[in-house]
C-alpha cells in the first residue's frame, strides 16, 4: 500500500490546487459562500441541474464516438449501436476530412478512413445516415476546422430526406479555439476561424433553431494539461468569445445562447469532478444572466456531454480502463450530464472494437438500470465536502477567467500561443510527477505487472477501402453538374471575400456535390492558413 495513505497528517491538495481537509462540516460550507449559488434544480443558478426532473424524466443520451473506414462501414456500426440501445450518434471523421482535405489529396495518403469515417461529398453523408431516423436519434458531428462544410452537408442531407430543419436536433463540435490549444484540426487563421463559427451560429439560429452548432470543449484543454478549474474557465472564456462574435452581428443573446453546449472531461478525483460540474453550471448561468442579460432560462443552461476521459486511461493493463470508464460514467451521472460518451478500454491502442463499444454502452446502461443513478436529482447535493468544493472551485474559475481577461483575452492568448504554452508546461510537470511516482497511476508507476501482448483487437487499416473511397469521389465528380459546382464555388468565394455569412453559399455548394476539399480550398484562398506558434514550448 501507498505509505502516504497511512498518515492522517498528510497534506492533500486536489489537481485544481485546493487543499482538502480531513473533514467538512456545515461551517465550511458557510465559510465558502454558503448556499447563495445553490438554488433548486431547474431554476437559476442551476447548480443542482438544468432541469427540475433530470433523469427521473429521461436518462442521459448515450452517444459513443464512432466512425471508421467509409460511410457504409460506419452506417453499419451506427445501426449496431442503435440496436444495442444507444440513443444518439457521435460521429468520428478521418483526419483528411477534419483537415478539409479530399481523400485523393496527397496529404491524405495513408490516413483515409483510419481514425474516423472518410467524407468527401454529400453522397457519403447520404450513405452514412441511410435508414437512420434523424428525429429519433440525434447526431453529433465531431468536426471543427471543416465544420462549415460538414454542418452544411448534414443540414442538406436531412432536408433532402424530408426532415424539417425547424425541428431538427443535433450538435456539431465546431469549437475552433480549443483546436488551437489541443487536438489540432485547425485550418484557417484564428480570426477568420472565429468568424466562421459565428457564421454557423447565426445561420442555425435562423434556419435550424433546434440544432446546436457549437459544443465548447474544455475536454481537450484538460487533455493538453489544464487542471479541472482551468478546463471550465478556459471553456467559458471561449464560449464568451463566440457569443461576442454573434452579438456583434446584431443577434440578441436569447436568439442563440440556448443552443450553445459544452463538452467536458472526466478523470482524476471523483469529488473534484462532481464539484467542478456543479460549480461550472452555476458560473455559466451567472455569466449569461449578469454579463449577457439573458432572459430565457435555456440561454443560461450549461448543457454538457461528459464521460470520456482519455487522459486518465492507460496503455498499461488496458483492462483497467473498463473499470476507470465505469467510474467516469458514475461521475458523469452524479454530475447531471445531458449526454454521456465513454472512452473505450482499447482506445490507447486502436479504434474501438465493436466489443469495446458495447462494454461502454452497457456500462452506462448498468448505471441506469441497476445502480439507481436516475432515481433522484443531484444526489451529491448537500454533502458538506461537495458543497464547499463547489463554492471554492467556482470562485477559482472566476479568478482564472479574470486573469485571462487581464492578459488580453482568450483570443489573443490563443493566437500568441500563450495558453498552449501554459497548459503544456503543466502537462510536462504532470509527466515528471508520474515518472517520479509523486502522482500515482495504477499500472504505470505502481502495481505494475510484466505485460505480454494486450488483449486488444487492433483495427486494421484497409488500403482497398481507401481506394474505394477515392473511386467514389471520382465517380461523383464525373456525374455531377460541373457548371453548377463551379458556379456554387464561385458564390462561396464571393461570400467569403465580401465578409458575408458563408453558410448559405456553402449549403448550395454541398447540394451541388462540391467536395470538402474543394470548398475548403476556396475558403483558404480567401482566409489563408493558420501558422502554428511553435517556439513557445
Amino acid at each position: 500500500m501507498n505509505d502516504r495513505l497511512k498518515t492522517t497528517q498528510r497534506k492533500v491538495v486536489n489537481e485544481s490546487g485546493i487543499e482538502i481537509q480531513q473533514l467538512y462540516t456545515a461551517q465550511d460550507v458557510q465559510a465558502s459562500g454558503g448556499d447563495a449559488m445553490l438554488g433548486q434544480p431547474g431554476a437559476y443558478p442551476f447548480t443542482r441541474g438544468i432541469h427540475a426532473e433530470m433523469y427521473r424524466k429521461q436518462p442521459w443520451t448515450m452517444r459513443q464516438y464512432t466512425g471508421f473506414g467509409n460511410a457504409a462501414d460506419t452506417n453499419q456500426r451506427f445501426k449496431y449501436l442503435i440496436a444495442n440501445g444507444q440513443t444518439g450518434l457521435n460521429v468520428a471523421f478521418d483526419l483528411p476530412t477534419q483537415c478539409g482535405l479530399d481523400s485523393d489529396d496527397p496529404q491524405a495518403d495513408g490516413e483515409v478512413g483510419r481514425v474516423g469515417m472518410a467524407i468527401d461529398t454529400l453522397r457519403d453523408f447520404e450513405i452514412a445516415f441511410d435508414g437512420i431516423d434523424l428525429d429519433k436519434v440525434t447526431v453529433s458531428l465531431t468536426i471543427n476546422g471543416a465544420a462549415v462544410v460538414l454542418i452544411a452537408m448534414y443540414l442538406a442531407m436531412a432536408e433532402r430526406r424530408g426532415f424539417d430543419l425547424k425541428s431538427l436536433r443535433g450538435t456539431a463540435q465546431n469549437d475552433i479555439l480549443k483546436e488551437f490549444i489541443g487536438r489540432g484540426t485547425w485550418i484557417y487563421p484564428v480570426q477568420p476561424s472565429i468568424k466562421l463559427v459565428g457564421d454557423t451560429i447565426e445561420y442555425c439560429a435562423q434556419h435550424a433553431p433546434k440544432y446546436s452548432p457549437v459544443s465548447v470543449c474544455g475536454y481537450h484543454i484538460r487533455e493538453s494539461g489544464a487542471n479541472p478549474v482551468q478546463e471550465m474557465a478556459y471553456a467559458f472564456c471561449i464560449a464568451k468569445a463566440y457569443a461576442d462574435e454573434v452579438i456583434a452581428r446584431g443577434l440578441s443573446v436569447d436568439e442563440f445562447a440556448g443552443r450553445l453546449s459544452f463538452n467536458f472531461n472526466i478523470f482524476g478525483s471523483l469529488f473534484e469532478q462532481v464539484a467542478k460540474f456543479r460549480a461550472g453550471r452555476g458560473l455559466w448561468a451567472k455569466i449569461m444572466h449578469e454579463q449577457y442579460e439573458a432572459k430565457k432560462p435555456g440561454s443560461m443552461w450549461m448543457r454538457m456531454i461528459a464521460g470520456g476521459g482519455g487522459g486518465g486511461l492507460t496503455f498499461e493493463q488496458p483492462e483497467l480502463n473498463v473499470v476507470r470508464g465505469a467510474y467516469y460514467a458514475l461521475i458523469s451521472a452524479l454530475s447531471g450530464a445531458q449526454t454521456m460518451a465513454l472512452c473505450c478500454y482499447d482506445e490507447a491502442y486502436t479504434i474501438p472494437s465493436e466489443y469495446a463499444q458495447r462494454i461502454s454502452l452497457r456500462t452506462m446502461q448498468l448505471l441506469i438500470e441497476e445502480m439507481g443513478l436516475c432515481d433522484t436529482v443531484d444526489p451529491m447535493g448537500g454533502s458538506y465536502y461537495i458543497e464547499t468544493l463547489t463554492n471554492q472551485m467556482r470562485a477559482d474559475m472566476e479568478r482564472v477567467m479574470a486573469d485571462v481577461d487581464a492578459r488580453g483575452g482568450i483570443v489573443k492568448l490563443v493566437a500568441s500561443g500563450e495558453v498552449q504554452a501554459d497548459v503544456s508546461r503543466q502537462a510536462y510537470q504532470r509527466q515528471l510527477d508520474i515518472d517520479s511516482g509523486a502522482f500515482r497511476k495504477v499500472g504505470v508507476n505502481c502495481y505494475k505487472i510484466e505485460e505480454k501482448d494486450p488483449q486488444v483487437e487492433f483495427h486494421p487499416y484497409n488500403q482497398a477501402d481507401a481506394q474505394a473511397q477515392v473511386a467514389r469521389l471520382n465517380e461523383v465528380r464525373q456525374t455531377r453538374d460541373a457548371a453548377a459546382v463551379a458556379k456554387a464555388l464561385l458564390a462561396v468565394q464571393q461570400a467569403a471575400s465580401s465578409g458575408a455569412n458563408v453558410m448559405p453559399a456553402v449549403v448550395e455548394a454541398v447540394k451541388a456535390y462540391a467536395s470538402v476539399g474543394e470548398i475548403t480550398r476556396v475558403l483558404t484562398g480567401v482566409f489563408g492558413h493558420y501558422q502554428e506558434p511553435v517556439n513557445v514550448y
Binding site: 477534419q98 495518403d109 493538453s224 494539461g225 486502436t350 508546461r425 515518472d435
Partner: protein, 133 residues
C-alpha cells in the same frame, strides 16, 4: 558522453495529420531541460518537410511523435528521403502510440529508438545522450 563541442541538436516532428501533440510538447520540454538544442516543427509535417527541416537545423537526431496509427506507412516514405539527403547516419527515433508488434519493423527501417506511450522522459533523454557519437 557525447563528443560534440555543442549541444546535441534534436528535430522533433509531428508527422501527418494527427493533432495529438501533448506528448510531443512534453518531450520537447524534457529534451530542452536535458540541455539539448531542440527544434519543434508543429503539426502536419510531410516527409519532405521533415527532411528539409532536418537539413536546415543540422539535426543530430530526428524524432517523430505519432499517435494516430499511421507510423509504419509514414516512416516508409520518410526513410528514403532522409537517406537521399545524406541523413542516413543521423539518429532516428519515434515515440507515441506505437504497438509492440511494430517495433521491430521500425527498428529494421532505421528508427533505433522506439518509445511507446508510458515511456519515462529520462529514458528518452538518456537514449539521445548515448546515441549521438
Amino acid at each position: 558522453m557525447t563528443e560534440l563541442s555543442r549541444p546535441i541538436k534534436v528535430l522533433l516532428a509531428k508527422p501527418g495529420l494527427d493533432g495529438h501533440d501533448q506528448g510531443a510538447k512534453v518531450v520537447v520540454q524534457a529534451l530542452k531541460a536535458a540541455g539539448f538544442d531542440v527544434t519543434y516543427t508543429g503539426l502536419r509535417q510531410t516527409p519532405e518537410a521533415i527532411t528539409q527541416a532536418a537539413l536546415k537545423t543540422g539535426a543530430d537526431v530526428i524524432a517523430l511523435s505519432s499517435m494516430a496509427g499511421s507510423h509504419l506507412a509514414f516512416c516508409a516514405k520518410l526513410k528514403p528521403l532522409l537517406e537521399q539527403a545524406g541523413l542516413g547516419k543521423k539518429v532516428w527515433m519515434i515515440g507515441g502510440n506505437i504497438p509492440r508488434q511494430d517495433h521491430d519493423a521500425l527498428r529494421a527501417m532505421g528508427f533505433s529508438g522506439v518509445f511507446q506511450t508510458g515511456s519515462k522522459l529520462e529514458d528518452i533523454t538518456a537514449f539521445v545522450e548515448r546515441s549521438v557519437p
